[in-house]
Symmetry: D2
């Protein structure tokens, strides 16, 4: 036990993500009216949004683009010193990133391409949300008033990226950034096709899944959390009434044990409404390996995974989204 | 921002608590049949229990004693090195503790009396729960089968200790152990009468409340978490059917925003069934100060706090429990 | 058993209620923005509203008036013939009512003063809700789109009237209208102070409670149902954020076992958000009598009843609402 | 509207069902330990069970038999007179039934073969559940103590029978017994393949589905209700841990809008855990017709129906259960 390296707590959370959308206006309407986020800023071709329980000013930027996909994903560090440590570790790992002065809602950031081809950032300085006058929440330990709209997504939770080599990308996140590998899927003892990693005590902040197409940098999905199962159920009713395509769920994941619901936003990106999931308080939690013999291979209660869940990603590869 | 010290992540979680009870047999029956824990070990005068979602082997020891109260509370560190750092910090803080070789379920521990008079321990080496043959859970990322009994308490969550000087005890937990002060209650700008502290991302692992009597070392309550609000509601129905005295709740706390339910176990100790609560991912979360002017002073929705909640603690002071 | 008269199924449901309010505009804003109803019609001094799961066009009329209170309450019969039977039974019972041609949303009705002094109506012909073009719900077995706003009250459920003589008013509803007496509260074997009556299989459509003041015709509360406990919890958060006075709850009733939440609307009338409650399928259900010895005298889990719940009613008696 | 016949309220509820099982002992173990019923009586080859919220003594009899299937289903009337009226109507409809003196838990009953080939009974006299000494529930308006075990099924809810001619069997239940046709499924304007009928205000007490095989009298499923969605979710976790085959769900039906979960008991019969569903208070509710163009054709949120749901029934036809 003494030979186990000390766990690293340099990354605090998934800070924000930038989604690209070919239908910016419709995507903004979806995320504000149906998914339930709040618009907090706009600049040409971009909209900045937040969830009512996000502590940070903005957790999602929508950027108009020819194709859907991930602009970038950003990890907030636990301190300025932690940021320096992570940049040093990234560079030691061979990453060649660049500093920039920040963007809407946050300060200086180190931007690089992760193993697997996605643009990532690490940063510390962030702007917190300050409610407008007269809009303070009733409880001061809550960042924003609870004025539920649509699915009322509560806070940014995790992101799932497709990568050509899951084991390699997983190792990169662990070694350079201190992510902990919580669960992995390796059918029949073969190559890893899925990895679930977290930075603190959640079941996952990042999932890595095997990219089925000969390409890189694609997004599988971005997830926001809601407080309870009943909120996911309610979200399903909201999506139904708003003609949003429900791809998968509500149901319970085997990995993470989260209760999930996946839909496509108008730009084509898959987004999830998520709740629950195991909490991992043990600092020496042993990575759980799932194979094809494990019960609950697809989902906890046996629901099959739709084919599109394995093939649809953004940007689409060789054609329109499934 | 640069002058803020780096957050410390040396304590992983509330590891276990020892409750004293003058009615050991009845307390064991309550905790196993009604509260829903599992008995995992016994030695003369003591019973060791766990919740189905605890990763560690045991989170609660019940010890027969003339009076109810807290035997000790133990914090698990994130690594052996973290344990050494915390012991050094404790001793630097003037604590005079002693090492012992461990106990049922865990290895060597440093035992000391905290500011406020409670016996505390820090330790790292722990035994994990291994299900008996044929009793493995269906999902391998879960420590124990889900075979709900009674309130089906899921995992140890937090403890609330009465202390003569809240500010001083709070400072001790922060400085010596790296606890983060999340919320504090200081009516009319006066002395702190409540402090909510956490070690990682929870709303609290430890609450400190002003001791009303001229004594030290008393327990206000020990709390286990359940997954959702519906589980707390169900627990209330279970307690009702089992003639367990429900003191307070189900309702929503203002501080922490947790959904709570307090009952007395047969020995007289107050125990809580808890769910929810804010998650604190921001490493620079600003402590929230509540005063008498704050909305939601007592509970979130306005429910009054029963008098006994301010006076009953264990061991009783100058008489039987209220 | 053979001597028991056959149950009567001539009343189908609580059709609608008219609430008087001295602050019509604010009351309309509350019921639409916070309580979650939909405005479906207005005429001078009146607003007609419905809940998203009401089958009928309107279930609530708000009428501007000098004082808060009940305008009238209306029971829909199961057929035109049932309407004739009930009018005959009412007149046999000594009631002197009058027919009118109907009102917004319904056809001809027989209006009378019930025992206890409230204006009641019985009627059959009703207008159903027809969604506007483009606003059809996704599921055709649902009357209106689910577009949740605020507490998202789902359908009219029951009404509670204060009456000087509970036993006499209860007998009137049973004998003249075929209500079934489900539960009654008679402390220490004395006079009835509460009666819960239903027309079909619900725990209650009408509650009668002892009027504490020397007056008649007052309203205790009007209740709408939501689907589940989680909706009541959410409603509490919504009321908290909107500075609505929460008088009592969320908690569980002893009588009916419903899960409840009481607030005051801006006009001063008490309104409830309600869910659950026992279902009574047995045609020979024996009336449950509660006395002071019964467990769960006040509420199921022991929560005390606030004093205002026994004294506040509309119109206020001898002064402003408590 | 005046030409509509008056609705009939002669059937109060689905009283009980008898399931045949080739594995009686295992079936009893499943229904008591996992599904959560209580054994209240046994005679050779038979076991009588009840759910904790059933008012009647027993709602389910398990009878050992070479093959799984339905023994009989029984409808309780609202009065002795209603029983006489229904027998007269049945005989007018050409049914040739026989009276018997009753069975465990109920008095004299008229037994006949319904259109579609299932043995049905109508009866009025029933034995109510009386808790054993010391086992009275805390709340006297509840028949039995709440001591949740496994899925904790709460009360018998509805039954689904396969019939060769849905329209004809549906007409029989309406005309002879006063069932109300709430919803029907008739793809592309063709023959009815599903009918949902209720006796009082529920979405359904009886569903009739097109029999795919050249046989009669088969059972599709028997359903018990639980209070809320969270109870269905919990049931799924319980079934998972107990290696019970989950065929379908948890998800939301389009028809009835109930939240469902289907499993097979050890004898091979399909049983459901059900909650919610629309309430139908309108006495003139218009039957909803679903066709292939209707949204939510299979399930409310789009989940596909597994093939076995269309083919598996009991007794199996031409082979073992799918």
């Amino acid at each position: 036990m003494s030979s186990r390296p000390e766990p690293i707590y340099d990354i605090a959370q998934l800070g924000h993500a930038e989604l690209l959308t070919p239908r910016l206006e419709e995507s903004v309407a979806f995320f504000t009216e149906v998914y339930g986020l709040t618009l907090v800023g706009e600049d040409p071709g971009r909209a900045h949004l937040r969830a009512w329980n996000d502590d940070i000013l903005t957790s999602l930027t929508l950027t108009g683009a020819p194709e859907a996909g991930l602009g970038h994903v950003a990890w907030r560090t636990t301190s300025p010193q932690a940021l320096e440590r992570r940049v040093a570790a990234l560079e030691k790992h061979g990453v060649e990133g660049t500093w920039h002065d920040g963007d809407f809602g946050h300060g200086k950031a180190y931007r690089y391409t992760g193993v697997g081809g996605h643009i990532q950032e690490v940063y510390f300085e962030t702007e917190k949300y300050v409610p407008p006058p007269g809009e303070a929440p009733a409880l001061p330990n809550q960042p924003q008033r609870f004025a539920p709209k649509g699915a009322a997504a509560a806070r940014i939770d995790h992101i799932n990226l497709l990568v050509p080599n899951v084991a390699e990308a997983s190792r990169f996140q662990q070694e350079a950034l201190g992510f902990k590998l919580r669960e992995r899927l390796a059918p029949a003892g073969g190559d890893e096709v899925g990895a679930w990693l977290s930075v603190m005590t959640k079941a996952h902040d990042l999932a890595l899944t095997k990219e089925p197409a000969p390409t890189t940098g694609r997004l599988h999905h971005l997830a926001y959390a809601v407080p309870e199962t009943s909120d996911v159920i309610r979200a399903a009713d909201v999506f139904l009434e708003n003609d949003v395509f429900i791809e998968f769920g509500p149901a319970k994941h085997s990995r993470t044990q989260g209760f999930f619901l996946y839909v496509y936003e108008p730009g084509g990106n898959r987004v999830e409404v998520f709740t629950g999931g195991i909490h991992i308080f043990a600092p020496d939690f042993e990575t759980v390996t799932w194979d094809t013999e494990s019960k609950g291979r697809g989902t906890a209660w046996g629901l099959g995974v739709p084919e599109s869940f394995h093939t649809h990603a953004t940007p689409p590869f060789g054609g329109a989204p499934a």
